[in-house]
């Protein structure tokens, strides 16, 4: 009986999800005895040509991390979709866009202009720019096309499962891999390795009367480590974020920034957080409400920190 085949790939990502797989520790050795890992550029030397040569649907499960930000990311998403029976969006970037999706607050052209005019160390009087095709003396060189709008994996290809988190925490990854090796899976489209409830349920801080009368930015105060962040005026994404991570950022006395993405049945994490935060404004008059609303720093960047691609509006106007 041939061993099931497993693959890992990274798109527009940081490598943290690879490290998250490594959190399996010695279990990875056990897993590698039960499955054949056939593609994993971080760790193994299989090249794209090896992948292209595989028959369709010959890989049992592929864990794909990273957002879709260039043509190579998209090509790999499509290729791995063809070659895999199951495709899993692993980590915040593949699931909801992650930090790379913050590029949806700007444009390819703006990024370029800033980099070539404004960064103080760039020395480029001839305004040379990277090109998708370049003719050099010896022949042609190509690099992928950079896209204007970052997409999630499921906005690009059909996805079977999601494992959220930036990155997904070790204990959860371990459970998820077990599920796949055992073939013990919930219905297609399920989110694995996370809770069905908001982070607040896991957070150990005491919640009494959640009302905010003044927004406090994290550099302005040392939070009381026992009390709910929101009650102290510090914006915390807990109410609008899926649990499963153990609320460890809160243990470090830092507020949640939403990396596990939206709760079940929520389409737009940022909209929900906006609603939750506004609902606890301790202000009655329009004037006071306006003041509080004006003091919220960077609504898009805070409420959609990890989920701008997986939102209703998806990007700012260009």
């Amino acid at each position: 009986m041939p061993k099931p085949k497993m693959a890992f790939n990274w798109a527009s990502s940081c490598g943290g999800c690879e490290i998250a797989i490594f959190e399996l520790g010695t279990k990875l050795v056990d897993v590698s005895k039960k499955v054949d890992i056939v593609f994993w550029p971080a760790i193994f030397d299989y090249k794209y040509s090896d992948l292209e040569a595989m028959p369709d649907k010959s890989i049992d499960v592929t864990f794909f991390n990273g957002a879709i930000q260039n043509s190579e990311n998209e090509h790999m998403a499509r290729l791995l979709r063809e070659k895999s029976k199951l495709l899993v969006a692993f980590g915040a970037c593949a699931h909801s866009g992650g930090i790379p999706a913050l590029a949806n607050t700007t444009t390819r052209d703006q990024i370029f202009t800033s980099s070539y005019k404004d960064t103080p160390t760039t020395d480029n009087p001839e305004k040379v720019l990277p090109q998708t095709r370049v003719q050099v003396k010896e022949g042609e060189l190509t690099i992928p096309e950079f896209y204007n709008t970052v997409k999630t994996l499921d906005q690009t290809v059909d996805v079977d499962y999601y494992v959220p988190g930036c990155p997904p925490v070790g204990e959860q990854v371990s459970k998820v891999i077990d599920q796949f090796v055992a073939g013990d899976l919930p219905p297609k489209g399920s989110v694995l390795g996370a809770s069905q409830k908001s982070l607040c349920h896991e957070c150990k801080r005491t919640k009494t009367n959640r009302k905010i009368s003044k927004i406090v930015r994290t550099f302005q105060t040392i939070p009381d480590p026992e009390k709910c962040m929101l009650e102290q005026g510090i914006i915390c994404m807990g109410p609008a974020t899926r649990g499963g991570c153990g609320a460890v950022c809160l243990d470090a006395n830092m507020p949640c920034r939403g990396c596990y993405g939206p709760l079940p049945n929520v389409v737009d994490q940022g909209g929900k957080m906006l609603s939750a935060l506004a609902s606890i404004f301790d202000a009655e008059s329009e004037e006071d409400i306006q003041k509080l609303a004006d003091s919220v720093p960077d609504p898009i960047g805070t409420f959609y920190r990890f989920s701008l691609a997986r939102s209703l509006m998806r990007r700012t106007k260009q």
Binding site: T105, N148, T149, V267, D268, G270, G271, K272, L274, S275, L277, A278, S279, F281, A283, E284, E286, I289, Q290, L292, A293, D294, V296, D298, P299, I300, F303, S311, L312, M313, R314, R315, T316, K317, Q318
Partner: protein
């Protein structure tokens, strides 16, 4: 005989109207036979406080050129303070819409009582005019570009 169709842009505005005041006011505009543009598609909600900011985002992302939220005047809310909650969410939503690049005129919060049929009509008229001059939002095309 084919009558020449106007090629003038007709804004599509989604209206969330509270059943106790604004929707009744809109009804009154109708029964009073007041003439006003037909550009608002009304959706009745029990209270303007029911309007989740996500509804507004969904409307805009799905092709609406504008969204109107209308409820009872402050102090008159059937549920006492539902409309205060609306103001809280709306003010913060306005800030976020501004960051998205959606013009302020496209999303409005108005108070319309059950007897203010005329007022409702004028609000719809002014909003339609403003958004017509802004042009279509066509949010989907902005995303795909």
């Amino acid at each position: 005989m084919v009558i020449g169709l106007s090629t003038r842009f007709e804004p599509k505005i989604v209206g969330f109207l509270c059943r106790w005041c604004a929707y009744t006011g809109a009804d009154l505009a109708g029964t009073s036979r007041i003439k006003y543009p037909p550009n608002v598609t009304p959706i009745r909600v029990n209270c303007s406080g029911r309007v989740d900011p996500t509804f507004v985002l969904k409307a805009l992302a799905s092709g609406a050129d504008g969204v109107l939220i209308a409820g009872c005047h402050p102090g008159d809310c059937h549920y006492t303070s539902g409309n205060v909650k609306t103001i809280r969410r709306f003010k913060l939503l306005q800030r976020m819409l501004n960051q998205f690049g959606v013009e302020k005129e496209r999303v409005r919060l108005e108070w319309v009582s059950a007897s203010e049929g005329e007022r409702y009509a004028r609000i719809v008229e002014s909003m339609t005019k403003e958004i017509r001059s802004l042009g279509p939002l066509e949010w989907k095309t902005k995303v795909e570009a």
